[in-house]
Amino acid sequence: MLGNHAIARGAYEAGVNVAVGYPGTPSTEILQFVRQYDDIYCEWSVNEKVAMDVAIGSSLGGARTIVVMKHAGLNVASDPFYPISFMGVNGGLVLICSDDVGATSSPTEQDTRIYAKLFHIPMLEPSDSQEAKDFVDLSFEISEKFDAPVFFRTTNGVSHSNGIVEFSQRVEERKEPFDKSSPKFRPQGGVHPTVMHQNAHDRLERLEAFANETNLNRIEWGDKSVGIITSGTPYQYLKEMIPEVSFLKLGLTYPLPEALIRSFAEEVDDLYVFEELEPFLEEQIKAFGIPVKGQELRPAVGPLSLEILSETLKDLLAKYGKTVPERPNPLPGMIMRFPTLCAGCPHLAIYYSIRHAQKKLKEKEIVIIGDIGCYSLGIAAPHNMLSCAFAMGSGISAAHGFSHSLQDPSGKAVLAYIGDGTFLHAGMPALLNSVYNKSNMTLVLADNRTTAMTGGQEHAGTGVTLHGDTHPPVRIPEIVRTLGPDDIYEVDSYDLKTTSQAVRSAIDYEGVSVIIATGPCRMFPEKIKLPVCKVDSDLCTGCEMCLGIYCPGIILSGEKTEKGKPKTAIDPFVCVGCSFCVQICPTNAIISEEGGQNDR
C-alpha cells in the first residue's frame, strides 16, 4: 500500500470526520484516497491557509481533523497554525505535511521539521507504510491528551513508497463543540498570549516526559560498539545495510527524548545520527552535550540513499564483513528525457503567441515573472519563457514590484503569468494590490480549468468539489473585472492572432492589463483527443517554424527538402488535434484531418 494511501486509511481508522488540504507533491494522493471513505467529509480548500482555518474550525466543532499539504504549503498555512499551536485544540487536530526531499516537483527543497520547534508542538515521523497508517491514530491520541495540534511529517521516501499494511477497525471519536465561553481560544480577551506561550513551554515538558516512555521511540539493541539514532526512511536504509548495530529509532522526533538518548549514548561506544536535510536532530543532541557524528558524514541536501550511506560507512561495514558493491557509472550515449508540456497544451500555444508578440515589439523587451503550475516548465529550455518563478500567486506581485523599481520603464514590458488554480489560490489579492497601487504590468491568466500540475484536481473554477458535488463554477473573468483593472482581454488560448494582438495592446496600455486566455487542459480532468493534424510533405519547406511551438507531437519526418532542410511530420499517437500548428505554417502544409487549413 502506498504510504499516502496508508495515511488515508489511518485517518479512517482514527475516526477522522473532517479532512481538508491543498494538492502538492508528494502529499496529493492522501486526500484523493480519503475521498473513498464516506464517513469523512473532505475538501480541497482554495489554499493551505484557508485549509488550516477550516481545520481549526472543525477541531473547535469537536471533530477529529486532518489538514494535508506539501512543505511549501505549510509556509502559507503557518500564520493561523502558529496561534492554534499555542491555544490547543478541541477535537484532535493533525497537520500532515509531506516534504519533497530532492525537489522532484517543487521550486524549493525544505526541511519543515524546524516548524515543530517554532510551533512548540509534537512531531511524528513514520518510516514506512505500516507506520504511516498506525501513526495517524497515535497522533490523535497525543493531540487530545496533550491539547496540542500534532505535526505528522512525511517525505517522498514514505509518501511514495509501498509496503504491506495490516488494517484495524475504525473507532468513532467525536467531542462536543467547544465551550464558546472558554477563555482558551481568546488571546488578549481570555488568556494573554504570553500565558499561552508559557503554557506551550509547559506542555513541551510533559511531552518530553512522554517521549522518553512511548514506544514511538524505541531502542533496538545490537552490537553496542555502534549506536545509530535515526528516523524516517534513513532508518530503513540503515537497518538494511547494518542490522547488527544498535539503533535508537525515533518516531516522535519533537520534542526529543533527552533521557532516552542520554542512556542510549552512554551504552554505545560510537554514536551516529543520520537524518535527511538539516541537522535537526543532531543540533539538539549536541545541545544536550552528547558528542555525535552526523553532518560530516552525509550531504546536507537531497534524499539519503543506500549508495550514499554505504559509501560513508564503508569502514564500519567492513568491520562486519560487508563489502560495498561496486557502484557502476551510467552507460555512455544516454540522453535525458525531461518532463515536458504535453502535446496540444494550451500553455504551449500561449507561450508561442507571446514570443510572436515579442517579435513585433522590437523596442520593448518582455520580462515574464511566472508562477507555480505546469507552465513552470517554461522556466527551462527550450521554452525559456519565465525569468523567475518561486511561490504560489507570487508572480503577480513580483511583476508589480519589478515594474515600480525600473528607473527607465520604456524598454521593458513586465508580464506575470499564472494559471487558474494558482490565481484562485493566492493570485487574487496580488492582482488587487497591483490595481490598487497603480502598476504598469500585464497579467496573462491561462485558464485551463483544472489543477493540472498535480494531476487534475478540482478547484472552485471547475465547479466540482473533492467530494464530487457540483455547483456553478466561479467565473474567473468576473473576479478579474471585480478586482478593478481597466484593460481586460478574453482570448482563446489557441488563437494565435488574437492572443498575440492582445499581448501587444496590453503592453501598450499604461496600467494593469489582464489577458484571460481560456483553453482546456488536454490531460485533465479527462483526455481530449480530436482528429489529429498532419503535414503534407510536398508542401513542407523545412522552415521549422512549427518546431518552434515545442509541441511533443511535432517531429522531424526524416525526409529532406531539395535544399537539404529537414521536413517535419506530426506523430498521430501524440497529437491531440488542438490544430494550433495549422496557424503557424506559412505554406499551409499542416492540415487538420477535419479538412481545415488556417481556418481557426
Binding site: 515536458t340 508540456l341 522531424l556
Partner: protein, 192 residues
C-alpha cells in the same frame, strides 16, 4: 522462502504500463508470503518523463529503493530507459530489453540524438540482455496495450513464481473483457 532480498527495477516512459507491471509483480510476491516494498516516481513523470519503479521482495525488506549495482533484474519497457538504468544491475544481473523506442521531444525536434545502437552499447559493457519486441507481439495479439503483460511473461522466466500464480494476479488487475488476451500475452512473453 529465500533469505536474500530480490531487487527488480521496472523502467519505462509514462503511459507504457510500468505501474501495472510493478503492481502485478508486488502482488505475486506478496501472495507468496514475501515482504514487499515498492517505490515509484510520481509528479512530473506524468509529463513524458522517465518512470522507474523499484520492487524489492524477500523475508523482511527495509529499504524501498534499489541501489546502483544491486538490481537482480532491470525490466526495461523502452530502449533508452534500458540504457539509462542498466548500471543498476549486479554483475550477474539480467536486463530484459523491450525493443521499443519512444523518442523524447528533444529528439523528435532535432535537439538531441537518440542513441542508435543501444543493444551494442549494452554488449560492449557486458550487460546480459534478453531482447524482446513486446509491442510487435502485442500487436499480433491484436491489442498494443498488453505490452506490459508480454513483458511480465518474459520476466516470469527469471523468477520463482509459477505461471498459475502470475495468471491469478494478472486476472485480478486487468478488466474482465481483456483477460483472455492478457493470458495469451503472458504465454507469448514467456515463450520468448
Amino acid at each position: 522462502m529465500t533469505d536474500s532480498t530480490k531487487n527488480i527495477l521496472v523502467v519505462g516512459v509514462g503511459g507504457q504500463g510500468v505501474i501495472l507491471a510493478s503492481n502485478a509483480l508486488s502482488e505475486v510476491a506478496m501472495t507468496r508470503g514475501f515482504d514487499v516494498k515498492k517505490n515509484e516516481a510520481h509528479g512530473q513523470s506524468q509529463r513524458g518523463g522517465t518512470v522507474p519503479s523499484h520492487i524489492r521482495y524477500g523475508k523482511k525488506v527495509y529499504a524501498p529503493i534499489i541501489a546502483r549495482g544491486e538490481a537482480d533484474i532491470v525490466l526495461a519497457f523502452e530502449e533508452l530507459e534500458g540504457l539509462r538504468f542498466a548500471h543498476f544491475l549486479k554483475p550477474e544481473g539480467k536486463l530484459i530489453l523491450n525493443r521499443q523506442r519512444i523518442y523524447p521531444p528533444r529528439v523528435s525536434s532535432g535537439m538531441d540524438t537518440y542513441p542508435e545502437n543501444i543493444p551494442e552499447i549494452l554488449r560492449q559493457h557486458e550487460i546480459d540482455a534478453i531482447e524482446i519486441d513486446a509491442l510487435n507481439i502485442a500487436n499480433k495479439l491484436g491489442n498494443p496495450l498488453v505490452v506490459s503483460t508480454v513483458l511480465l511473461g518474459a520476466l516470469s522466466n527469471l523468477l520463482e513464481f509459477t505461471t498459475e500464480e502470475w495468471k491469478n494476479v494478472i486476472n485480478k488487475l486487468v478488466p474482465q473483457k481483456h483477460r483472455d488476451v492478457n493470458m495469451e500475452a503472458f504465454e507469448a512473453g514467456k515463450a520468448v
